[in-house]
Amino acid sequence: MPKIPDAFSGLWIAGITSTILCSSLLNAAPVIPGVDRLPSSSHADDVLAGEILLGELNCTQCHDADAAATRIWTKTAPDLAKVGSRVTPHYLRKFITNPHATKSGTTMPNIFHASEAGARDGAVDYLTHFLTSLGGPIAPSEAGGTDKALAWGKELFHSVGCVACHGPQDGPKNPEFKPLGDLATKTTVDALTSFLKNPHETRASGRMPSLWLSDDEARAISVFLLRDQLDNPQSKEAPPAAQPGLNVEYYEVAGSNKMPDFSSLKPVNQGAVERISLEVPFKRRNNNYTLRFTGQIRIDATDDYTFATQSDDGSWLLIDDQIVVDNSGIHGMQMRRGDLNLKAGSHKFELVYFNAGAGGDLRVFWRKKSGRGRGSVIPSNIFTRSGGNPMVPLNTAPFTVDSGKARVGKRMFQAMRCASCHDLEDARPLSLSKPLVALNIDSPDGCLSTNIKKGLPDYQLTATQRRQLIAALRNTDTFTQKETPQRQITKTLATFNCYACHERDGIGGPNDEIAANYFATVGDIDLGEEGKIPPTLSKVGAKLKTSAIHSILSSQKLHVRHYMKTRMPNFGRENLKAFTDHIGAADDHSQEDINPTFTEADAKIGRKFIGTTGLACITCHQIAGQDALAIQGIDLATVFDRVNPSWFEAFLLNPANFNRDTRMPQFWPDGESPFETILEGDAKKQISAIWSYLSLKNSLQLPEGITLPGDVAMEITPTAQPIVHRTFMEDVGPRAILTGFPEKLSTAFDANVMRLAKAWRGRFFDHSGVESGRTDRFLTPLGQDVFDLPAGPAFARLVNNQSPWPSVDKSSRDTGGKFLGYQLGDDRRPTFRYRLGNAIIEEKPEPILRPGGAILKRSFGITHNTDGTLYFLAAQGKTVREQGGTSFQVDDAIIHLSGSSPIRPIIRTVDGQQQILVPIEGKTASLTQTIEW
């Protein structure tokens, strides 16, 4: 390099920088991301890359390769048979005129690069009419966009796998990813949705895979990708989008007496349904969940209507945001009704259902109020859900296909060899070019030159791509030679960009930034990197059974990493023939069919190893559809279908040999067994026994230690003495202190807020949230007759007896005072103590035995300087009825108050609820409350 005078070096650098900037902004060159992941240091590397490019750029569609040239594969260009139905005329015109400027990185060549503008525009016009005539013009989208769909689509795009090839869409564009082009001009939500659902229909080559998206997922991603259409002024004028059915949101919380506050909750999943039912279009658990159906209900005639829900557990039906049916609470199948007058027209509809445990069911009925009986199921055709704001492609203009122009366009399509790549049944190419082997690759104005003559396609190749293509074309005599399986695999992984997610032999895998920000576990569970990043493909041919590879590439049956947000795509099984044919040979699967001999005795031993008296594999692995105890790792009953026994043995002997970061323990360190007496302590025999057990697949007898749904795994039962136990409890909080009395009465004290929160009869509680090893479960009482005490602290300082009772949220934890602790008396019953300002308050909850069941007695001792501002909230309910003296009926409960000094309760109404307040008088006061419910 010539020496550059210092004075110019700055300019020189500036020049380079601006060139780089321009080229990266335009990034005209075709982007084939998988090829860029391959090594490129040798001539052999160039030849391999060049062979891939010959196929990916569809060179062989014009330049016939020898039928025996097995090293050269062909992609196929998109099927244009119905292109008019999915692409706007405006976009077609733009794209054909200058593909690279419209969709940077495209593999579509520019045909008009050397044409005069006038001639070009004329030809493009004919082509546009022809292509639009194929099923077009595109219809307006029925579906529109909502904020939710937009947010969900963004999240899906950046988690299920799109981002691996196309790159993040929430920051600056990075040229190494496959660009998406000007989609908002190109197509509609409906058309893109159907493409994302089944990309192989129009792009059979499988380079764009399907990600097993549901209708709603595909629609959400489409809304996100076409988001610029939401701001299109033309969208504002379009009619509103709506679709039949209801939206449904799924939450992993269970309600009880109160409807959840959805504004503070994020749905775990969402979708749409035709009718109200517990069959929702996504996976949900069986207990502790809430479904929320929303949409519009169309009323044909103004009238008084009666709605009813019948549910197990609770449900609420709302119309125009008013609760019509309140079927709250935890209960078996129970019907509740509500009436209202509805005017003809559309009304906002909402139905909330939750299941807290055991069985679940939901039915919704209506009738005219004047009718009889429970009524009938609401017909599904009167529900509509918002299709969101209309989304119209940018720069939409009316377009009528001119059939004359279309006919001319079709002939041009054939003459200009568009038809070579885009196979159309009745529009074959009129001529072919020289075969591949006969090409003059040194031609000064050929496709590979930098001065491409008029009529030849301009791909805007980079210098590297030219070098690679030339390297391959100088080796045409090798095209027919047999390739090693390993080479075939490398080419396949590059062609389909498997390298975007998977590493193999040191090549590929998501880069650090993508891995850190866009690969995640469902629910962020504690599975480390192996829970986020798709597995290595090194030696995958030895690991997986051939049948499993076939299955994984074409169905979701063996996609066992349910915890991974990124999905294994579907590239089309036929497209990956080269992979399935060669991976076994490349990785030596000669051990594949050697199965250990199955014996029932071995399977029994294997079962012991898997269970909690063995290696406790079920701590981290699901088995035969049952949840694991702690971390929900791969279901062990899928092992037999997936992996080879020889790999299984090698993996168990030292998992770190396969993945340094794995959390899978090495149970046989240095081959030594922790169970020396079983099968002579022989590691391989023990592993073989585990294999025997797992080979039973879903018919295996579950191992010891599995907890089935509904099992009460760790019930705590007070017998001789009360038991005080701190844990998490629903509606009480993470600082709950439970007391179980042998008298079958239990209470929950909330040490966050200083209140007795709950009392119930019967069984105490099941501590299996801790049993499972992971304790983030908020428990519920095991017993029945649950009595909920008022929310907020039991005592408060009020300016006067009309001041509002303090409400408590997370940030005002000390509203109820400072928890001091508890002391157990000689009877082992606890007395709770806390401080509120200068008052020390003690509470001793106890059972009083009564025919019909124990009732609750709360004894308080209060020490403070009397200033007349301390109040006790004795009760709260819909109705308070005085029963004489200091007894009250509060809804279904009888409250009785007594004290060391006369009790002067105040009854007041706040927000439709009645409260009984007791002012605390005297420096030391004692107060007793009984609650009978």
């Binding site: 990197e529 063995g614 340094r660 360190p669 600082r735 157990l824």
Partner: protein, 490 residues
């Protein structure tokens, strides 16, 4: 961390005619206490001043071990308290038993002396809990300020968790007033916290996000240990914490002080899988020889490998650093807590709940006894300006120890990254260029071709033996060289 059984081993041993077999069990014997009928998932353990051993379980019970010493089959567990929310530490102080549970630091007392605790007082509950399983609290230990030090786990996973204050901190709590003072931020999963013989407090942290390798670190006021979770509380914590910047993923930890001068480098890194996967309880040997030749050294347990490692520390330029060395493995279950008994045996409290680990049991209590036989081991290691000095438990065969071919090693370091655990980075082999054996054979001075500050120096020893031909029991060692000493100190 691989136990090596040397049978008909090294050529050298054969030439002296002694086919030596060395096994950890020859020197340290494991006794198992009967816990079969109790769910003894140990989360806390302490030796009371009256000599009785007290054990806290993950399920919330506190037991006193009756007949804790002697014939293990005679030992039994007597319930002292129950219903504590995962007590993960125990400390006797001023007549109270202190324990950190989920919601608070509590103190407990058996007032009437009937053998059961009656009073459960809240000392401090100033930290938040959202209800995530990962919000464990550990301790307390008596800190150098005379207060009670507690470490808090950060919650795991996304919303609704993750915004709780004071998670991922070390805090100091006044035992009388309950006032809480922040000590250090940036802890991840600080499963072990312990006061050293010289009064400083150290903690063990578990590999995960923003923690590429598990580590032992020194807790000092105002430090930042790397995990960003705790920074949501930095404004409440005040100076200097309110100045801490959000860390940038991908920064070499050795360069972190450029972002945050308060960044604390570890004292010891535990390279993943080589030295456990999940360090937990730790204890200094104050048995004065009762537990063997490692008096004043530190023992660190691992929950995954069901093992106990040995750590030797030294202070170089104001930073505590040192090496971890394999010590004893093959316990029945992953270990949470260790504690010396009054008989100088090491009590081993175990649980594998929630995580997989080695062993054939899910919980239990074992005891580790020195058999009285001294293992041939690297006793300690000290950094020098140009290498290291190794000291042995017995005199070495000088010919072998003087042969540089018997030493090899490599150095590597770690990034601070958002990913979950990370590789040994910037790895490079080093060469021992000279090995100078002391006249008494008890030590050797090694010169290294390249020492790298901020790097783990991993040693492999081959062929070293004592003067009877007994080979080294453990032939590996990992020294975290944060500072290279400028001058020789004696």
């Amino acid at each position: 961390m691989h136990l090596k059984t040397y049978t008909a081993l090294l050529l050298a041993s054969l030439t002296v005619g002694s086919a030596a077999t060395v096994d950890e069990s020859d020197y340290y014997r494991i006794d198992t206490l009967p816990t079969e009928d109790l769910k003894m998932e140990v989360g806390a353990m302490m030796l009371r001043q009256d000599g009785r051993m007290m054990v806290g379980t993950r399920t919330g019970e506190i037991y006193i071990i009756e007949n804790a010493y002697g014939d293990p089959s005679k030992a039994s567990f007597k319930l002292w308290a129950r219903g504590i929310a995962q007590p993960l530490g125990l400390l006797e102080h001023g007549g109270w038993v202190y324990t950190a549970q989920r919601g608070e630091l509590s103190r407990l007392k058996d007032v009437d002396g009937d053998g059961q605790c009656d009073i459960f007082e809240n000392v401090c509950d100033d930290w938040e809990i959202s209800g995530n399983y990962h919000e464990y609290n550990f301790g307390p230990r008596l800190g150098p300020n005379g207060e009670l030090w507690v470490t808090t786990n950060k919650p795991f996973g996304g919303e609704p968790y993750g915004r709780a204050d004071w998670r991922g901190w070390a805090v100091s709590i006044n035992p009388e007033t309950g006032k809480m003072t922040p000590i250090s931020a940036g802890l991840r999963s600080p499963a072990g916290v312990e006061d050293s013989p010289w009064g400083d407090v150290f903690y063990t942290d578990n590999q995960g996000e923003w923690c590429n390798a598990s580590k032992l670190s020194h807790l000092e006021l105002g430090d930042y240990h790397g995990h960003p979770h705790g920074l949501i509380t930095k404004d409440k914590a005040g100076a200097p914490f309110n100045e801490f910047p959000q860390p940038v993923s991908g920064t070499w930890m050795k360069d972190m002080h450029l972002q945050n001068p308060n960044f604390k480098m570890p004292a010891v890194w535990f390279p993943y899988d080589k030295m456990g996967k999940s360090p937990s309880g730790l204890k200094w040997d104050k048995t004065d020889g009762g537990f063997g030749p490692f008096a004043e050294q530190l023992f660190v347990a691992d929950q995954h490998h069901a093992s106990v490692m040995r750590v030797v520390l030294e202070e170089v330029d104001g930073h505590w650093q040192g090496a971890c060395i394999p010590f004893r493995e093959k316990f029945q279950c992953g270990i949470i807590r260790i504690c010396f008994g009054k008989d100088d045996s090491l009590f081993i409290g175990q649980s594998n709940a929630g995580w997989g680990g080695r062993g054939n049991k899910n919980w239990g209590v074992q005891r580790l006894h020195w058999t009285g036989k001294t293992p041939f081991e690297v006793h300690s290691i000290k950094a020098r300006p140009d290498g290291f000095q190794l000291t042995f438990t017995q005199a070495v065969d000088p010919a072998k120890a003087g042969d540089i071919a018997n030493y090899s090693g490599e150095s590597y370091t770690y990034k601070l990254e958002s990913r979950y655990g990370g590789p040994e980075g910037d790895k490079k082999k080093f060469t021992v260029t000279s090995a100078q054996v002391a006249a008494d054979g008890m030590s050797v001075i090694l010169q290294i071709d390249e020492l790298r500050a901020g790097y783990v120096h991993e040693f492999k020893f081959q062929n070293l033996s004592n003067q009877d031909g007994t080979p080294l029991l453990h032939e590996e060692l990992y020294y975290t060289l944060v500072n290279i000493p400028k001058n020789l100190t004696l």
